[in-house]
Amino acid sequence: MTKLLEVKGLTAGYGQVRVLHGLDFSLDEGGVTTLLGANGAGKTTTLRAICGMVKAGGEILFEGKNILGKSTEDVARLGVAHIPEGRGTFTRMTTEENLLLGAISRKDQKNVQKDIDKMYDHFPRLKQRRLQQAGTLSGGEQQMLAIARALMLRPRLMLLDEPSFGLAPLVVKEMFEILTALNKEENASMLIVEQNAALALGIADDAYLLETGSIVMSGPAKQIGADENVRRSYLGY
């Protein structure tokens, strides 16, 4: 398999403060990679660095080309759909407008309506909420909407920042089932950032463990999940 995303020596920070100290990780075409780590480890910052939202150094190869230093808009136009922390919903707009916005930079506008219908098949609840203001949807529905919005880009790569955050356990379970299905059926590649390690390791092929801006462990998800220390610190059993 070819590498879809390859990150080498990634550094990033805010103002004078450096938060990431040289990360190396990669993601296979069609694969799912997860970045695990405690609060403040730098997971969100990593995703922001990939999308040109923070000042970064090193190399970020997407389909073999360095995208470091590209503007956020341009990265998105390359097919990287980032569902940010807090979901990034356009709260004042309707559900359907949110979906239209997901596809707004696509060249093939004539297929957009078809894709919207497909999203409604995946997420029937969104169809019921079509013309409702997105800000009034429940947390779970908003997360579904965020995923659907990202899919509307027909992305080559999806970046998900703590998709389980703030959701009830049952909803989280349903959402990860959907993500698994999307990965299988649509061959969507995903980089998932999570604090909920058990869930993320269940869906991922590879996993990386982040501590204060450095990768302290990496390997196949199964192997990481079996590790004694990881179990104790992150999985809690």
Binding site: E73, A76, G88, F90, M93, L101, I104, S105, L153
Partner: protein
């Protein structure tokens, strides 16, 4: 009763001026999330361009069209040249730049066209409308154009993808970038549209107030007031707000003894502030719910 009715009608016809300006104010507010103090001067400058063209013998509607296009380009250019380089500067620094632009444009207009008042033609004539002396055919035309513009804007923002992208960029720039919208160009586009609408407002207002470099100062203030009263997020609200300001101003001037006539503007503003204290997002604006 008769007097009241007449004053309301007169208020509506001056209100049309404010409504038109308020629409331009809302437009820029949507694009940059702030009021632009130089907007009235931009409109005034545009109107002078139209006047110059008409003086040179260009037919009215052609001059009108050229002015709108030139203003649009000018608005985009101001954003790109003046504001883009300092886009990360604090908002108050931007406010100061508005003040600077105001000063530059006003001074240049005075330098080029001097400060004597000039008359500006109306495409609608100035005969009384429906036999009433209170509202002329020009004012009727102005109301019609304002409402027409409003409809066009509504269609643009609701049904075109550029309109959708502009709304998204204004409401949530970070998310807008993540879906690939070029937010900074959307801002420039907003400037262009605001300048174009402002130029239309200027050309419609000039036949009523006469053309001179300071013509827009108080009108912009009333336009701000109308836009704020209507709720800065709603073009329709702004237009209604503009009409309301015209009516409030007229009634205050007529019915409040002694000080009414002298304090027309402040009283209108006080009424608006009182409304805002009870409805902080304006009459038609959506209430902002903030969570931590």
């Amino acid at each position: 009763m008769e007097l009241l009715f007449q004053q309301i009608l007169a208020g509506i016809s001056t209100g049309a001026i404010y409504a038109c300006m308020a629409l331009a104010v809302v437009m820029i507010y949507q694009a940059i999330d702030h009021l632009n103090f130089a907007q009235g001067e931009m409109a005034m400058f545009s109107t002078f361009i139209a006047w110059q063209l008409i003086e040179k013998g260009v037919p009215y509607w052609l001059a009108f069209l050229i002015t709108v296009v030139v203003s649009f380009i000018g608005g985009v250019a101001i954003e790109r040249i003046v504001f883009k380089p300092i886009e990360h500067a604090p908002v108050l620094s931007h406010v100061v730049i508005f003040i600077a632009l105001y000063s530059v444009i006003n001074s240049m207009a005075g330098f080029i066209w001097d400060f004597t008042v000039k008359s500006f033609p109306s495409p609608f004539g100035s005969s009384p409308l429906f036999g009433s002396t209170l509202i002329s055919s020009h004012q009727g035309g102005m109301v019609a154009v304002t409402l027409g513009l409003l409809l066009l804007l509504y269609l643009f923002f609701s049904y075109t993808s550029v309109g959708l992208a502009m709304r998204a960029a204004a409401a949530n720039p970070a998310s807008a970038r993540l879906v690939g919208i070029r937010v900074s160009w959307m801002t420039a586009l907003g400037w262009g549209m605001a300048a174009a609408i402002g130029s239309i407002a200027g050309m419609l207002i000039a036949p009523v107030v006469f053309l001179e470099p300071n013509m827009m100062i108080s009108i912009l203030l009333y336009g701000f007031a109308g836009a704020v009263l209507g709720g800065l997020t709603s073009p329709g609200g702004a237009v209604l707000g503009g009409f309301a300001v015209g009516v409030i101003e007229n009634l205050a001037g007529t019915y409040i003894p002694v000080i009414g006539a002298e304090l027309k503007l402040p009283i209108a503003l006080v009424v608006i502030v009182v409304v805002l204290v009870f409805k902080p997002a304006g009459l038609f604006g959506r209430v902002v719910v903030s969570r931590v």
